[in-house]
């Protein structure tokens, strides 16, 4: 068991190293001069400032040092928590800009993932092996997973936001309010949060329902289910056993799907101009702010790795078999 955890951690460490290396390599080996193109597209009119910034970025990229030295410098800067200075919001450090956006993204992601997982599993288990439901929920599930996140977000913004006028469609809170812990501001936060959350929730729902439906069918064919049925156990009891067993692969599925859902969150945020990481990606692209873009990339990778690790831990506590192996290995 500890060996298993060790291997997992090794993969995560490797992944992190690969991500950092990608981050370091891309600006250096892609065609073109990143510093020039970044500053050209950034809208800087004052020539003095432009010169200072060029000098700064040339130095940060360290382009005149030998390659291996550049690489080591990059790592040491990273470990000190230094991701560079944003071009777009000069002279604010990239880390600060990102930390301001992270809470918004998490506020969308965590409820959307957890709720869609719970509800999707229920739906899937409910649909399996009952012909009418199966033939309706299954196609709906597949169509939902095939829906591009931004398109459903657009449809919701247009129908519920603009045509019906129930929800606001842009921003994280009303710009007329100053952030604070008063009821009015919190209400504004919630109404702005609801539509992006809902559209992510709906798209993610389909995948979980399909996964659960397939797992339950598989479990219902297992020997223990047949045995229970021959004993005359009620259908509900058999299904409850099957459901608990089918949940385990769904937890693994959570880890696999994480990347897709995070991507979905970024796209959804862009539609609603929600002040999270997705909008930051778009802004940094439009302003050619590569430091910010790469900072967001690293943050997302770290987030995915941490979440994967948490899921691994949860799995150990939920699946008794891994616990047995654990004590078995140590005794």
């Amino acid at each position: 068991m500890w060996r298993y955890m060790g291997r997992k951690l090794l993969v995560y460490a490797l992944t992190f190293a690969v991500a950092v290396t990608i981050n370091w390599m891309i600006p250096r080996f892609m065609p073109g001069d990143p510093v020039r193109s970044m500053l050209n597209r950034g809208s800087i009119s004052d020539p003095g400032a432009l010169e200072r910034m060029t000098a700064y970025y040339e130095e940060v990229f360290g382009l005149d040092a030998p390659l291996h030295e550049q690489y080591l410098n990059f790592w040491s800067g990273l470990l000190r928590g230094d991701l560079g200075i944003s071009v777009m919001l000069y002279p604010e450090p990239v880390v600060d800009v990102i930390l301001r956006a992270v809470p918004y993204t998490l506020a969308l992601l965590i409820p959307a993932i957890v709720l869609s997982w719970i509800v999707g599993n229920r739906f899937g288990a409910f649909a399996a092996r009952s012909k009418v439901l199966d033939n309706s929920i299954l196609p709906i599930g597949y169509v939902l997973t095939a829906t591009p996140y931004m398109w459903l977000a657009l449809l919701m913004a247009w129908s519920l936001g603009i045509v019906a006028g129930i929800f606001p469609t842009a921003g994280g809170h009303s710009y007329a309010l100053t952030p604070g812990m008063n009821a009015e501001f919190l209400a504004s936060l919630v109404t702005h949060w609801f539509l992006p959350f809902l559209s992510m929730f709906v798209v993610a729902l389909g995948g979980w329902a399909i996964g659960m439906r397939n797992m339950i069918i598989y479990e219902l064919e297992a020997d223990y289910a047949t045995y229970l049925r021959t004993l005359g156990a009620p259908r509900k009891l058999v299904r409850r056993y099957a459901y608990r067993n089918a949940l385990l692969p769904q937890i693994t599925g959570l880890a696999v799907q994480l990347g897709t859902i995070i991507t979905g969150a970024l796209l959804t945020e862009i539609v609603f101009n929600y002040p999270g990481l997705g909008t930051l990606v778009l802004d940094s692209l439009n302003n050619r702010d590569f430091f910010l873009l790469q900072g967001v990339f690293l943050f997302v990778v770290i987030g995915v790795l941490v979440a994967n690790f948490v899921i691994d831990l949860v799995y150990v506590f939920i699946d008794p078999r891994t616990r047995v192996q654990m004590t078995g290995a140590s005794s």
Partner: protein
């Protein structure tokens, strides 16, 4: 074979999925032939709702949405085949090799697969593609292929592992044939249905990923695609102006193509695997 065909003809999921996909494929192939102006040309009145002349209306610049739509469907299929194809080639190669060779090769390839699997593909793509000044469809497809192959590799590896110990494979190995020949002649044919289904899933994944990239503004620099239509619609506030005909059709087409691909896949699964057929 005859029995498979017989079952296939009676499987509604397969039939419905296949006909929707083929319908869109035809639209993408033939549609552009009947449009006598470029998809990005300013041809008509501005912001006009769908009419007999402009079937899907026009954009705020007077571009014909129908023209963009059919050209966009064409590039959707292209990106799916190319991107899905590259991912399929890498994924199956890695999977076969890891599953068949075992040992240290397997260890290394599995580690590599797991690393790429954990990295969120679209986010890697955004960072990589952002530095390219001119982007074409092919480049986009190659990049998508390079980042989306891992789960296919894992699935193929698992299947190969179970086939690699069969007697006929041992026999082929004993006859002294090269690794690749054994894989191609003995292992691959025995999991062909599985491979077809993997390709379909990779196709769908590539289409969705490409749409996401296009929407962020990292699409082909001089082209048309459904994702680009969505991007433009948002950039020029089609939402606020109520130009629904600009952003509803492209998303609907992506959903329909990818969704019916998935449903077609379930149908295929039921045809190939009798255990899954309706009770």
């Amino acid at each position: 074979m005859n029995e498979t065909l017989h079952v296939a003809r009676r499987n509604p999921k397969l039939l419905i999925g296949l006909s929707v996909v083929l319908g869109f494929l035809l639209l993408g192939l033939l549609g552009p032939l009947f449009v006598d102006h470029g998809p990005n040309q300013y041809v008509g009145p501005q912001s006009e709702p769908p009419s007999a002349q402009y079937w899907l209306g026009t954009t705020t610049f007077g571009q014909d949405v129908w023209a963009q739509f059919v050209y966009g469907i064409r590039s959707t299929f292209l990106i799916g085949v190319l991107g899905g194809g590259v991912a399929f080639a890498i994924g199956t190669a890695v999977g076969f090799l890891a599953g068949y060779r075992g040992g240290i090769v397997d260890e290394i390839l599995t580690m590599l697969t797991n690393v790429v699997l954990v990295l969120p593909a679209l986010v890697v793509l955004i960072v990589a593609v952002a530095y390219l000044d001119a982007r074409g469809l092919v480049v986009q497809a190659v990049f998508i292929g390079l980042t989306t192959w891992p789960w296919a590799a894992r699935a193929v590896r698992a299947q190969t592992l179970s086939l690699a110990t069969r007697e006929y494979v041992d026999l082929a190995r004993l006859s002294g044939r090269r690794t690749w020949r054994v894989i191609i002649t003995e292992i691959a044919p025995n999991m062909s249905s599985y491979l077809v289904m993997s390709f379909i899933l990779l196709f769908g994944g590539a289409v969705l990923t490409a749409a996401g990239l296009d929407f962020i503004g990292l699409g082909p620099t001089d082209g048309v695609s459904l994702g680009l239509m969505l991007e433009n619609a948002v950039a020029w506030s089609a939402l606020q102006l109520g130009l629904w005909w600009w952003f509803v059709p492209p998303g609907a087409a992506i959903t329909a193509v990818v969704g019916s691909m998935y449903i077609l896949n379930v149908g295929l699964d039921e045809v190939f695997n009798p255990k899954l057929r309706e009770l």
